[in-house]
Amino acid sequence: MTLKHALRYLLLVLLSMIFLGPLLFMISSSFKPDEQIFSDLRSVRAFLPLGDVSLDNYQQVFEQSRLFLYFANSMMISGATVILGVLVNSMAAFGLQRVVWRGQALLLGLILALLVIPFEVLAIPLMMIVAKLPWIAVEAGGLTVVGSWFNSLHVQIVPFVANAFVIFLFYQFFKDIPLDLDDAARMDGANLWQIYWRILMPNAKPVTATATIILFLAMWNQYLWPILVIQGQEARPIMVGIQQFFGRTADWGQVMAYATLVTLPVLLVFIVFQRRFVQSVAGAGLKG
């Protein structure tokens, strides 16, 4: 029994090395000059930040790429999509689950049917649609009409706010909140909006957290869509930024520093909220 136990541990440790190895290599190499990355390759030191370590690579990355801008862009895009997405999708779920109206069953069926269409099918036609779509922008205090959505932040936000899967998650969660709560609130004179905002949403914190994680990760990792609609630097998100940096530099340490900067915020949030993350995934998987 103890031998079996020891073997299982050995296997788990070995597998952990395989799963963490590339990430540790990335982080450790980001502190090293290239000569040291190469000389460490054949030893355990490849995975450890030892030796001639410094922040030089990071300094170089900030000097050679507009990383702050791309980072801020991705934060804006992800943050806005999460806030708007939680609001819009939970409202729709409330309307479909808590209000009685004509056509709600049909609409629920239609929304669920949309789940089978992957974004990859829509990307090229949507690109053609937004290419010539006007947008009203605020510029220098006045309003101007811009003739295209290309090269903007909103083109990376608006198409991803409504999400059939997130509507479905909220719908399932609302179903388990007892109707007695609504009735009690209605007795106290609450209208539907108040029931939604003051009764259901405060009770839906777990599913709100799940929706936040799903939407944030999806938006932070966006790659295909910005390739199609963003050409210049001003609205470029971080994933396109790192891909282009990777394409034009031969310095391993700097690319690893860039990769670490892009990954670390998400990795840290994940480590802090890992229980929540894991539950979200399991919940999303089982309900889907």
Partner: protein
């Protein structure tokens, strides 16, 4: 609660409905219409309706047979090594007047004749083959790994939460970052993987993982499984925890071995979970794009182009929008059939119960 309130229902649902209409329904309809035209990104010519031309160009395939050369007596001519000689028949490209012309995808021998498979878009067929190959490689490997990991961390063991977190860490790492880091790991001369193999082999190993036609796609599949397995592990873990522990106890009382318990308790208990995991992983694998775009750009020699990569390449980079959208529609039809097959299987197994 019982009173009908159409206005309120529409009020709550309207923002989502408008946005879903804009970002899914409208482009979906546009995709269908667009593929029947010759729309390009920038062109002075007006867009015209061309019927099924795009799909014909994609799917046209013909087999052209080349007869062996015969001497005056009618016997088949052979060279010194006994190989059958074929005439240099009028070039097969001239088989029809279609534009773009037919090109050779591959040849095979059957009987005495030589057959050439001719298509109008060889890269499309190559990407179709590559995409299926990738799915066949990554799905069993990734789900097998996920199942193994889930079984290892299922029972209480010191530090199991930590192990679970380690296995899940690549999932929250973006695929762009993963592809960049692994491009270094796979590097021919100074990649970590060759160096580690070299330490074990006691010499220099210089496998050109991403530069070899045979290895590039499996290398991408291995990396993708590493990145995604933690996700399926968590879902399988939830499935494992829903299996009644008493079933295992009963099996042990009957003297079942660990393998028999796995075969007759665990696997049947995971049926629905595994079906779900296989279907979602398969559909995701058919969309392979990021890894290819970052690591190989479809190369070497089109060995890693995929359907979505080909769609983006022709629809965006070559500005042939209608054609790129048609490739994406083919991808959609594949995904749709998988979803429909799964629904059929799921509902027939429901009825059996």
């Amino acid at each position: 609660m019982s009173a009908r309130n159409d206005k309120a229902g529409i009020f709550f649902a309207l923002p989502a409905l408008l946005l879903l209409g804009f970002s899914i329904v409208l482009p979906f309809v546009a995709a269908t219409v667009m593929t029947l035209t010759d729309q390009r990104m920038l062109t002075p010519n007006p867009t015209e309706f061309v019927g099924l031309d795009n799909y014909q160009r994609l799917l046209s395939i013909r087999v052209h047979s080349v007869q062996p050369l015969r001497d005056d007596a009618g016997a088949i001519q052979r060279d010194d090594e006994g190989a059958i000689q074929y005439s240099n028949s009028p070039t097969i490209q001239q088989a029809t007047n279609d534009l773009p012309p037919y090109q050779e995808l591959g040849i095979f021998h059957f009987g005495d004749s030589l057959y050439a498979i001719l298509v109008r878009d060889p890269i499309f067929w190559q990407s179709l083959i590559n995409t299926f190959l990738f799915v066949l490689l990554v799905v069993p490997f990734q789900i097998g790994a996920a199942l193994g990991l889930a079984l290892l961390v299922k029972n209480p063991i010191g530090g199991r939460t930590a192990f679970r977190t380690f296995f899940f860490a690549p999932v929250v790492t973006s695929m762009v970052v993963v592809s960049i880091v692994w491009a270094f790991l796979y590097n021919e001369n100074s990649g970590l993987i060759n160096q580690i193999l070299g330490v074990f082999a006691g010499g220099v190993v210089a496998i050109n993982w991403l530069g070899s036609e045979a290895l590039a796609l499996p290398a991408i599949a291995l990396m993708s499984a590493w990145q995604g397995a933690g996700f399926q592990m968590i879902i399988i873990l939830a499935g494992l925890q829903s299996i009644d522990e008493q079933l295992y106890e009963a099996a042990r009382l009957d003297g079942a071995t660990a393998w028999q318990q796995f075969r007759h308790v665990t696997l049947p208990g995971l049926r629905n979970t595994l079906t779900f995991v296989v279907v979602t992983t398969t559909i995701a694998a058919f969309a392979l794009f990021v890894q290819v775009d970052v690591m190989t750009q479809g190369g070497p020699n089109d060995a890693t182009t995929t359907l979505i990569y080909h769609a983006v390449q022709s629809g965006f980079r070559e500005q042939d929008v209608a054609y790129g959208a048609s490739v994406a529609v083919v991808y959609f039809l594949i995904v749709l059939s998988i979803a429909l097959i799964q629904r059929r299987v799921a509902s027939s197994s429901e009825r059996k119960r």
